[in-house]
Amino acid sequence: MELLRQNVLFVLVFLPLLGAAAVLPQRTGKSARWVALGVSIATLLLAGLLPLLFDSARAGPYGYDDVGGVVQLVRRLPWVPSIHAELLLGVDGLSLPLVLLTTFVFVLAIIASFKIEKQVQGYFALVLLLETGVLGTFLSLDLLLLFVFFELSLLPMYFLIGIWGGPRREYAAIKFFVYTFVGSIAILVALIGIYLKAGSFDLVRLPALLGDLAHTNPTLAMTLFGLLAFGFLVKLPIMPFHTWLPDAHVEAPTPISMILAAVLLKLGGYGLLRVAWPLFPEQALAAWPILAALAVISILAGALCAIGQADFKRLVAYSSVSHMGFVLLGIIAMTPASMAGAVFMMVAHGLTSAALFFVVGIIYDRVHHRQIARMGGVGATMPTYGRFASLFMFASLGLPGLCNFIGEILVLMGVFSAAKTGPVSAAVPAWAIYTVATAAAFGIVLTAGYMLWCLQRVFLGKPKEDTATLAPLDSRETLVLWPLAIAVVALGVLPWTLVLTLSDTTVAALLKVLS
C-alpha cells in the first residue's frame, strides 16, 4: 500500500509514455489502436484509484501532507540539484478533478480516433505522449518540471493538428505553436525571475518564499505576474489572445479537438490557479480591472462571435472562449464559491466541449462539411444523435441539472459575494465588481442564444438536401456519447459528491494563501 502511495503518481504520469513507446513498434494500425486504448484505460483506472488514496477531508494549510497539508501522495526525486529543481509530484484538490477529467477524456478521444487511418502508430503514440504531458503538468509541484510538461504538451498537439488536420492544417498548427510558444517564453522568463528571488521551484513553498517580494520590489513582482498571467491566458485562451483557438479547432481532427478543448485549455486555468495566483496574490488584485475586463469581454464577445459563425465547429470553439471567460472570472474573484466554480467549470466544460466537438465530428463524417446553413432536421433523420446533441447543447448553455450550470452559478455567486468578502472586496470598489458580475451574467442569455439558434438550424425543422439521409450512430460513436452524457448529468446533479468534495479543502487552503 505504501509502495502504491509512493509511486502511483509517477506511474500515472509515465504510463502513457510507456504506452506510446509500445504503440510505435506495432505492425498494424489495428493493434496500435487497441494497445493505445488499453493503455489509456489502464491510466483511467489508475487515476480512478486516486480519489480512494486521496483524503479529501483533510483540511490543512496549502502544504504537503507530511505537515498535514492538503497536497498528498507527494513523491520527490532529485533532478537538478544545483537549482533545487526536483522531480516533484503530488496531488491536491485542484489537480485531482482535472486528472480524472484528463484520463477520462483521453479514453473517449482514443475511441473516437479509431477511424484514423493515416500513420496510425504515430498518431496514437503522439496522443499518449500528449497525455503524459498533460498529466505531468497537472501533477507537477515543481515549477520547472511543470513548465517542462507544459511544453511537452505543446509539441504533440502541433503534430496532431499539423499531420492529421484539415485542409488548412499547416497554418493552424503553426499558428497554434507560435502563439502558445510566445506565451511559454513569457512563462519561462517569469520562471527565471521567480527562481532568482525565491531560490526554489517548489510551488507549494514558493508563496511563503516570495512573501515580501510585493513590498520589496513591486515592479518586479508585477512584471513576473504579468508574464505568468499572459502565458496562461494565451493558453486559456482569453480574448484578445484567442485567435489561435478557432483555427486550431476547425483544422484539428475530431478527437484532437476534443482533447484540445477538454484538456489543453485547462492547462491555462490550472496554471493561473496553481502558479500565478498563489505566488502573486497582491499583483493579481492590482491587475483586477484588466483581468476582469478581459474575462467579461471573453464571455460576451466570445458568445457574440459564436452567434456570428456559419461553421458549426467554429461556433463550438468560440463557445469555449466564452466559457473560459467564466473560469477566469471565477479565479480572479477569489472567494470560495467562485474558485470552486472555476474548478468545476473547467471540469464541466471539459465534458461538454469534448462532447460537442464529438457531436460536430459525427455530422461532419456524414455530410463532409460543417456549414450550419446547409444542415437542418438532423434531429429527424438521426433521432438518437439529435437527443444527445441537444443534451450537450443544453448542458453547454447552462441548464440546471447539467454540469455547466453549477460552474456558472457558482462563479456568478462567488463574484457577487467578492464584493462583500474575500481579498477582492478590500481592493476593488464594490460597484466595479457588481458591474463585472452583471455583465457576465448577461453572457448566459447570449450563450443560450447561439446554442439554441444553432440547435434550431441544425437539428430541428425539415431535413435539407445534405441531411436528408444520414447513417444512424454506429456503436463506436454511441460508446463515446453515453459516458459523456452520463457524466454531464451526474455532475449536474451531484456536483459536490463527484467533484467539489475533492477540491473544497484545497480551495480553502489556497484562499488562505491568497488573502
Binding site: 500513420q119 510538461f149 502541433y158 499547416e170 505553436f177
Partner: protein, 492 residues
C-alpha cells in the same frame, strides 16, 4: 630557465599531451594505411579508432588533473581542457560517423586518407586550443585548426561551391589571423611575456591603450573561430559550400575551441573589477546580442537547411557568448550549453547528411515527408531541433534556462540579454518549425531514406538529449567541475 640547457619534459608533461600524441600517431597511421589497404572505409575506421583511442586516453587517471602547467608553461592541464577534449573527440568520432553514413561512398578513391589527415590534424589543433594560454602555442593551435579546415571546406574540389567556400574561408581566415597575430604582438609587447595567464595577472585588469588594441585584435581572431559578429560572414557561405560532415565539424569543433579559448582568457581577466573589465564584459554582451539576432534573423528566410543550421550556429554562438559575458559566474552554463550544443548539432547534421545524400539536396523541401520515410530519423531530428529552440523535452531547454538564469542572477543590464535570448528563441522557432513542418506535415517527394548508421547516430543524439534533461545533474556537475586552472603568478 636560462636558454643554455635543454630541459627534459617530465611524465606529467607527457600526460598533458597524451591526446595530441595519440592523434598524431593516428595521423601517421592514416597516412600509412593506404599503402596496405586501398579501402576508403578502412582509412575511416583507422581514424575512428584513433579518435576513440584518444578519447580513451582522456579517461585515463593520468589525464585527470586539478590543474597544472606542462611543457614549461606551454600547456595547461585542467578539468576544463579535459572536458573540451572529451567533447571534441566524441564529436569528431560522430563526424566520422556521419562521414561513414553519408560521404564515404561518394568520396573518390584515394581521397579518404587526405580527408582523415586533415580532419585529425584539425582536431589536434582544436584540442590544443583548449589547453593553452601561451600566445605562441595558441596561435599555432589556431592555425593548425584553421588551415586543414580551409582545405576541408573545399574538399569536394570539383564543385564550384566548394571552391568558392574554401576561397572565402581562407581569405577571411587569413585576414583574421593576420589581425590576430598583430594583436598578439602588441599583447606580448605590453607585458613582455608570451604567457597570457601571466599577462592577465600582471596587468590586473588595467590595460594600456596598446594592450586594448591588442585585446580587440585577438578577440577578432577568436570571434572568427566562434563565427560571431562581426566575424561571422564566412559561416553560412562556407557551411553551404562544404560538405555536411565538414560543416558539422566546423559548427561545433571550431566554434567550441574558440569559445573555450576565449573563456579561458576571459575567465582569468574577468576576476578584476576594473572599468576595463566591465567594458570588456559589455562588449561581449553586445556582441552576444547582435550575434544572436543576426543568426536568427538571417536564418528566417533561408531555404537551405545547411544555411539554416549555419545561421542557427551563429545564433547559438550568441547564446554561448551571452554566458561568456558573465564569466566567471557563467562558466557552468557555458560549458553545459556547449556540451548540449555539440550533441544536438551532431544529431541535426547527421540527419541532414542522410537526407542530403538521399535527396541530393539540402533544401528544406528535401525534408518533405521524412517522417513517413524514416520516422526514427525524423523524430530524432525533431528532438534536436526542439532542443535548439530550447523547449522540453530536450536538454536544450535546461541549458538555455541556465544561461538565462545566470544572466538574470547577474541582474541589472544583463536582463536585457535575458530578454534578447527569450525573444530570439521565439524568432528561432519559426525557422526550426519550417523544418519540422517539412518533415511531418508535407508529403514525401523522394523515396530514399537515410542510412541506418545515420539514423542510429541521430537517435543516439536524440536519446542523449532527452536523457540529459531527465538526468541533468550529472551534466551540470561535469560542467561545474570543469574549472579553468590559473597558473600562480610568478615573481619575475
Amino acid at each position: 630557465m636560462t636558454g643554455g640547457i635543454v630541459q627534459i619534459p617530465s611524465a606529467s608533461d607527457w600526460s598533458a599531451i597524451g591526446v595530441e600524441t595519440t592523434l598524431a600517431a593516428t595521423l601517421v597511421a592514416v597516412l600509412i594505411v593506404p599503402f596496405f589497404a586501398r579501402s576508403q572505409r578502412g582509412v575511416g575506421l583507422v581514424a575512428l579508432v584513433g579518435v576513440l583511442a584518444a578519447f580513451g586516453v582522456t579517461l585515463l587517471p593520468a589525464s585527470v588533473s586539478t590543474g597544472h602547467s606542462a611543457f614549461f608553461g606551454m600547456l595547461i592541464a585542467d578539468p576544463a581542457a579535459l572536458l573540451w577534449r572529451q567533447v571534441l573527440l566524441l564529436f569528431t568520432a560522430g563526424v566520422i560517423g556521419i562521414w561513414f553514413g553519408a560521404t564515404s561512398r561518394a568520396v573518390p578513391v584515394g581521397d579518404a586518407p587526405e580527408f582523415m589527415t586533415l580532419l585529425i590534424s584539425a582536431t589536434l589543433g582544436l584540442s590544443l586550443m583548449g589547453a593553452t594560454s601561451n600566445l605562441l602555442l595558441l596561435l599555432l593551435a589556431m592555425e593548425l585548426a584553421s588551415m586543414p579546415s580551409y582545405v576541408l571546406a573545399g574538399f569536394r574540389k570539383t564543385k564550384r561551391h566548394a571552391a568558392e567556400a574554401s576561397l572565402k574561408y581562407v581569405l577571411f581566415g587569413a585576414v583574421c589571423t593576420a589581425v590576430t597575430i598583430y594583436g598578439l604582438s602588441l599583447l606580448y609587447g605590453s607585458a613582455g611575456t608570451l604567457d597570457l595567464g601571466h599577462w592577465i595577472t600582471a596587468t590586473r585588469g588595467a590595460y594600456t591603450p596598446a594592450a586594448i588594441v591588442g585585446v580587440f585584435f585577438v578577440l577578432a581572431g577568436l570571434l572568427f573561430k566562434i563565427s560571431a559578429v562581426p566575424a561571422h560572414f564566412w559561416c553560412p557561405d562556407v557551411f553551404e559550400g562544404s560538405h555536411v560532415d565538414v560543416a558539422a565539424f566546423l559548427s561545433v569543433a571550431s566554434k567550441g575551441a574558440g569559445l573555450l579559448l576565449l573563456a579561458r582568457l576571459w575567465d582569468g581577466a574577468s576576476h578584476f573589477a576594473t572599468p576595463m573589465v566591465a567594458g570588456m564584459a559589455a562588449v561581449l554582451g553586445i556582441v552576444a546580442v547582435v550575434t544572436t539576432a543576426v543568426g536568427n534573423l538571417g536564418a528566417l528566410r533561408q531555404q537551405s537547411v545547411k544555411r539554416i543550421l549555419a545561421y542557427s550556429s551563429i545564433a547559438h554562438a550568441g547564446y554561448l557568448l551571452s554566458a561568456m559575458a558573465v564569466l566567471p559566474a557563467g562558466r557552468t552554463s557555458l560549458l553545459a550549453y556547449l556540451v548540449v550544443y555539440a550533441v544536438m548539432n551532431l544529431g541535426a547534421f547527421a540527419v541532414l547528411a542522410g537526407v542530403e545524400r538521399a535527396a541530393g539536396s539540402d533544401d528544406v523541401s528535401a525534408f518533405d515527408g521524412l517522417a513517413a520515410r524514416s520516422p526514427v530519423a525524423a523524430v530524432a531530428m525533431a528532438v534536436c531541433l526542439v532542443s535548439m529552440v530550447g523547449l522540453p523535452p530536450a536538454a536544450g531547454f535546461l541549458v538555455k534556462w541556465k544561461i538565462m538564469s545566470t544572466l538574470a542572477t547577474a541582474g541589472g543590464a544583463w536582463w536585457w540579454i535575458v530578454a534578447s535570448v527569450a525573444i530570439n528563441s521565439i524568432i528561432s522557432l519559426v525557422y526550426y518549425a519550417k523544418i519540422l513542418r517539412a518533415m511531418f506535415l508535407r508529403p514525401s517527394t523522394v523515396r530514399q531514406e537515410p542510412s541506418r548508421l545515420i539514423t542510429a547516430l541521430a537517435s543516439v543524439c536524440a536519446v542523449t538529449l532527452v536523457l540529459m534533461l531527465i538526468a541533468f545533474a550529472p551534466l551540470e556537475q561535469w560542467a561545474a567541475s570543469a574549472v579553468f586552472w590559473q597558473a600562480p603568478v610568478q615573481t619575475p
